[in-house]
């Protein structure tokens, strides 16, 4: 199997900011991303759980974005201003993908 270097960017952010974040990603030129629901968590701002929440202000999403290594910096630069003001965490992991042309 032919595998190619890529970066897996995982951004955990407030659900309410999800659309704004993915707009930034698209502007930054990423070719795709996937959003996974997050059902609970903990951080400096305390513990929360999605069950029983009625406020759409609460809750987080995980946005997973596979990008070519040379596109990484542009991607991170694009999202940094939002992440700086809003709660959330970002991790970047080295990974390998099939079909490099997709990323």
């Amino acid at each position: 199997m032919d595998m190619h270097e890529a970066k897996r960017v995982e951004i955990i952010i407030e659900k309410i900011m999800e659309n704004r974040l993915t707009d930034l990603l698209i502007e930054a030129g990423v070719k795709g991303f996937s959003v996974l629901p997050v059902s609970g968590g903990s951080g400096r701002s305390g513990h929360w759980s999605r069950e029983g929440q009625i406020s759409r202000a609460q809750g987080m999403s995980a946005v997973v974005c596979l990008v070519k290594p040379d596109r990484l910096d542009k991607t991170l630069d694009a999202i940094f201003p939002m992440l700086d003001r809003h709660i959330g965490v970002v991790s970047v992991t080295d990974t390998k993908v099939m079909r490099a042309e997709l990323f």
């Binding site: 900011m17 069950e51 029983g52 009625i54 406020s55 759409r56 202000a57 003001r85 709660i87």
Partner: protein, 326 residues
């Protein structure tokens, strides 16, 4: 005074309040009772759909009159002005930062639709009628408070992005408003006939769904209090009780000026007294992420909502009855 006690007692022993209390205690006792997010959302869609439609249908056949328009206008004005009152009270009563105070203030200018529904249930049991268009007034009161608060914040903070057009659209077209107003107009258009077609879905089971919904609200409010331990000072809690009283007074004055009926006056008081916990928190997270959500959610959902539900509503009914006469 007697009326107040009997009303309060009757209210405290109504199933909807008891289910709220059940949820609240279960949460405090750390029971794992909970409602799936989708079910909670589904119930809230149902309530908006039902009250919007019933409000519109009850209005169909009547023309648009001055009182209706004045009521909508009062709603906008109350919602836009109450945040300033709340802000001043907060700065006097508590040590909250200006940003946090403004964010809290936005919540108290806006409204809680479930408090409105609970109040109309209680009015129905008392046999006090109210105007169907009060639902539309409720809808107009959701958004103006947010704009006032963002203006307050923009004065204090350079950093704030404030109100971009994207956020403005989100606020004005937020799901609750669209469903409430949309159902209202469909009810208005289809009238009694439309209502009779779907009444077995939106009228008969309404009270039961409201009980379940308040059970969930109790769970959420209780868990919020448990998690937020320490985020809110005793003075802030006091504000959470004083502010609804101040809001209700403002609502009463407006209602008297317009000359609303007893039932509609009570609802105007309830709307002014209640605090948002859905639309406004969302807008604040977007526009003022620096403000601490634990503060405004705890006050609105953990303090003011239960206060209005248990003590506030019977009090407003009593006061309005005394002032306006039945």
């Amino acid at each position: 005074m007697e009326q107040l006690f009997s009303l309060a007692q009757q209210n405290l022993l109504s199933p909807i309040i008891l289910f709220f209390a059940l949820g609240f205690s279960a949460a405090i006792a750390k029971s794992d009772l909970n409602f799936p997010e989708a079910i909670a959302k589904g119930m809230s869609l149902y309530l908006l759909f039902a009250i919007g439609f019933k409000g519109g249908a009850s209005l169909s056949g009547y023309g648009i009159d001055a009182q209706l328009i004045l009521s909508l206008l009062s709603g906008v004005i109350l919602s836009a002005c109450l945040p300033f009152l709340a802000f001043v009270l907060l700065r006097i009563m508590t040590k909250m930062s200006a940003i946090d105070a403004a964010a809290v203030a936005a919540h108290y200018g806006s409204i809680s639709i479930v408090t409105f529904v609970a109040a109309s249930s209680i009015l129905e049991i008392q046999g006090i009628t109210f105007d169907g268009y009060m639902v539309a007034v409720a809808a107009t009161m959701e958004a103006p408070a947010i704009i006032s608060a963002l203006w307050l914040i923009s004065r204090k903070s350079k950093e704030s992005k404030g109100l971009d057009s994207e956020l403005m659209r989100e606020i004005l077209l937020n799901g609750s408003i669209v469903l409430l107003i949309g159902s209202f107009f469909i009810g208005l258009l289809t009238g009694k006939e439309g209502l009779s077609e779907i009444a077995p879905f939106i009228s008969a089971p309404f009270k039961g769904v409201l009980c379940l919904f308040l059970l969930d609200m109790g769970l959420v409010a209780g868990r919020g209090l448990v998690n937020a331990k320490g985020a809110v000072s005793a003075r802030a809690v006091l504000f959470g009780i004083v502010m609804p009283l101040a809001g209700a007074t403002a609502g009463l004055i407006c209602a008297m000026i317009i000359g609303l009926s007893l039932g509609s006056t009570v609802l105007m008081m309830v709307l002014s007294a209640s605090a948002s916990y859905i639309a406004v928190p969302a807008a604040m997270r977007v526009a003022v992420p620096e403000a601490n959500p634990a503060i405004y959610l705890t006050l609105s959902l953990g303090v003011t909502f239960p206060f209005n539900l248990t003590v506030g509503i019977p009090l407003y009914v009593t006061i309005a009855s005394a002032v306006i006469g039945a």
